[in-house]
Assembly symmetry: C2
Homo-oligomer: 514 residues x 2
Amino acid sequence: MAEAAVRKRGRGGGGAARRAERSAVSFETARFIERNIPNFEVLTEEALELIEYNAETVLEEIGVNFPDNPLALQRWRDAGADVDGDRVRIPRGLARQLCATAPSSYVQHARNPDRNVVVGGKNLVLAPVYGPPFVRDMAGGRRYATMEDFRKFVKLGYMSKWLHHSGGTVCEPTDVAVNKRHLDMLHAHMTLSDKPFMGSVTEPSRARDSVEMCEVLFGKDFVAENTVMTSLININSPMTFDDVMMGALDVYAQANQACIISPFIVGGAMAPVSVAGTLTQVLAEVLAGIAYSQLCKKGAPVIMGAFVTSIDMNSGAPTFGTPEASHITYGAGQLARRLGLPFRSAGSFCGSKLPDAQAAYETANSLNMGLLSGVNFMLHACGWLEGGLVSSFEKFVMDADQLGALHHFAAGVQVDENAQAMDAIREVEPGGHYLGCAHTQANFKSAFWKSDVLDYKPYETWEDEGGRDTMTLASRRVEKMLADYQQPTMDPATREALGAFVATKKAAEPDSFM
Amino acid sequence: MAEAAVRKRGRGGGGAARRAERSAVSFETARFIERNIPNFEVLTEEALELIEYNAETVLEEIGVNFPDNPLALQRWRDAGADVDGDRVRIPRGLARQLCATAPSSYVQHARNPDRNVVVGGKNLVLAPVYGPPFVRDMAGGRRYATMEDFRKFVKLGYMSKWLHHSGGTVCEPTDVAVNKRHLDMLHAHMTLSDKPFMGSVTEPSRARDSVEMCEVLFGKDFVAENTVMTSLININSPMTFDDVMMGALDVYAQANQACIISPFIVGGAMAPVSVAGTLTQVLAEVLAGIAYSQLCKKGAPVIMGAFVTSIDMNSGAPTFGTPEASHITYGAGQLARRLGLPFRSAGSFCGSKLPDAQAAYETANSLNMGLLSGVNFMLHACGWLEGGLVSSFEKFVMDADQLGALHHFAAGVQVDENAQAMDAIREVEPGGHYLGCAHTQANFKSAFWKSDVLDYKPYETWEDEGGRDTMTLASRRVEKMLADYQQPTMDPATREALGAFVATKKAAEPDSFM
């Protein structure tokens, strides 16, 4: 059903007004990934049942905390939970039963309907890094992020073929007041790109601002009927549901806007050091969080999130691309499918300070695992550096390039007559070569994924050109992309209304940097 | 059965003499990987059957070439094939039937029986890069490889915990005569390491030398009864079986020594540009090659190889870590399991000129795919650079470190009571943390894989220490490992006999660099 909806809008069913607004100069963007490959599963049926049983035990015996949130406690009481102070103990089976009203997939609409995404099923939607207070590039090194950096990342995301989503806080614009930066960030996503985006979650009032800005962009009626944002609601693991986040979730759920409800876990710190223990806690947390979203509004679209990584027990630093993080993500994917919910996990995770080999090993480990674990929404799919403290310009384009490989792999293997290539094998014969044969001529353009960043040149050419490493090549690509950027067109009245909305909101209260 | 044999020797069943030879100063080496995870499979049953049918059609209608090899042609004629000039056409079903006498797994013995490996089943044996004429390190850049470089790589391999095998031509020692370098290479593997190794294949006479040197090392009777080498026999794709390689295969098969029989394919050049077409050719080639090994000697141990990669159609350069190479490898793994044979593929493949982010993305893609595709013997598991032209010292230790992550991932997920960690979740409660809890204290040492190369330090510390990238950290590690190296002990009589064997052989003919 969700699939039919996006196809319909994709074919231009979304109204003449919005069609007219569409970009005249548009950069190519691949359709979200529709996997034609199986999922990889590490947990047996017995292990899954054990973890599900234990998660219910956690909810029933230990419970979860909803501090400073009388409304949430009342909703839980009404639903049949045992509420004691901030602690909510949920009878076995109740949370899973409440989760059943959440849709198994949903369409997130973009202002360019060709860029709508379907979140769920066999699909994978890729969105950029979220949250870093710092940026890094080759020329400027590491520094606090600004709104100008933010705009550059939105432009790069818009121009990245394999990125389906503009994301949210692609970096934290520290030069704009905390109570106003959500307005500038949303404005950038709405005007500098035409891909789908995320809303603010740092205050319920900012979530409301996000909905209202979407009403300006898409029209009030359209927003009332459709999901136009997917926003990130983190759980304070272990098992604590922050009242600010829950307030933002409530705003979005009431407005039928989607939320990722996501434990944020560094194993050994916010969850047990074991994979099965972490999965138990992750499942308990998402069951409680998603059940609560349905108490806010039955049928509200949500994603089961799992931000999980391991820890270096010597330094306490989170570590990325590790085998334990992979185990947890594969297992969480299995649990999400059994819940019948879209799944968010993985990303371009790394602990490295530079976009070097460490960054790439860790990132490739996580990207591959994300694809094979059945992730439906991959936040942080490009640009993440230094444990999420830094958004890296070079790594953004390096990772975004690798996302093309995921698309090609996910397409699976064709076995039609052309793919069987028996004529080619007959033509070439033993001892020949395929470079010029008819089958190669007919297929070579689409046969292989080709990187836009990596070096395939002969050694001598590469050396003559300065012996550049990947970071240097990526730096050139960032420069070129930003130089080539062209803003997608927008109806002038909409543009003016968005500007006015931001100006009015900003004028209404003094700047705060708290 | 093979498994029982290795365990028996592992427990010291290999004779007192060999036990006495064992290293007094021994560096820790992990046991080969015994996967506790499923294989990932991209091809459907229908696709597999189609490819198998087409491969038989190729063998029957097109056939394969065995040039300059009357003995091979006679063997094929005797087996019932249709021989026309060099061309051998194999009736449908015959090759597969001949392959049936090859064992599904075998033990390769090492002079230290703790380091014996079982090749086949759910196991994965990791061996280093093979064949590059150049080496590269940070201090010396790129240069022709020498015997001194070769020895350094053998030492690094001996000291690498996650590497089970010493390999073969870890780099091509270009400063030693072509007709004598196999003697020095084998001598280095035998004396500088105690891990299993590979024999020479560049002339049948050198294969015989390899067997004879093993007889010196292990004893003639032991070699007659046991496999002590696994050597690499490449097929000249498409579908040509070089007489030199076939001669070496014959020597090894007669001596019950194992060979990898491996198409060497850059898709679009030596095979069709399509995945299904390449798999068809790969299967036809290995069916013919392995059938031929069994015509040499029924029951000779062999591995189905598949060196497959894609091509950059602009430059003609081979490309690595690509999604198409992954499709082919996953498919080849499925085909190997249906044949009931051990499978060799994947490795630390990359096209990059430097051990940078490109190298690491490409390598991680290939290593992960190799693990999940069911590879049993992974040649090139560390140290490969620049499309196989270069053995890199830094990349050797970087990749070897990543192999530890494969071990941890392959161990699968525990779900015993300790792993469930319910006591920990009860102890910590909502809002707490797990850093000091009893379960973490009891488990933290073994909970997470930890890199020995990558940087996990806080940003400020890392910056104070010079802001080193992965290559720089790896360079320091290479220096330290070589400084710490200690040769495994060896019975002096054996050492002397090996030296005498090499000296006698070298003295018997003039140097040739052809």
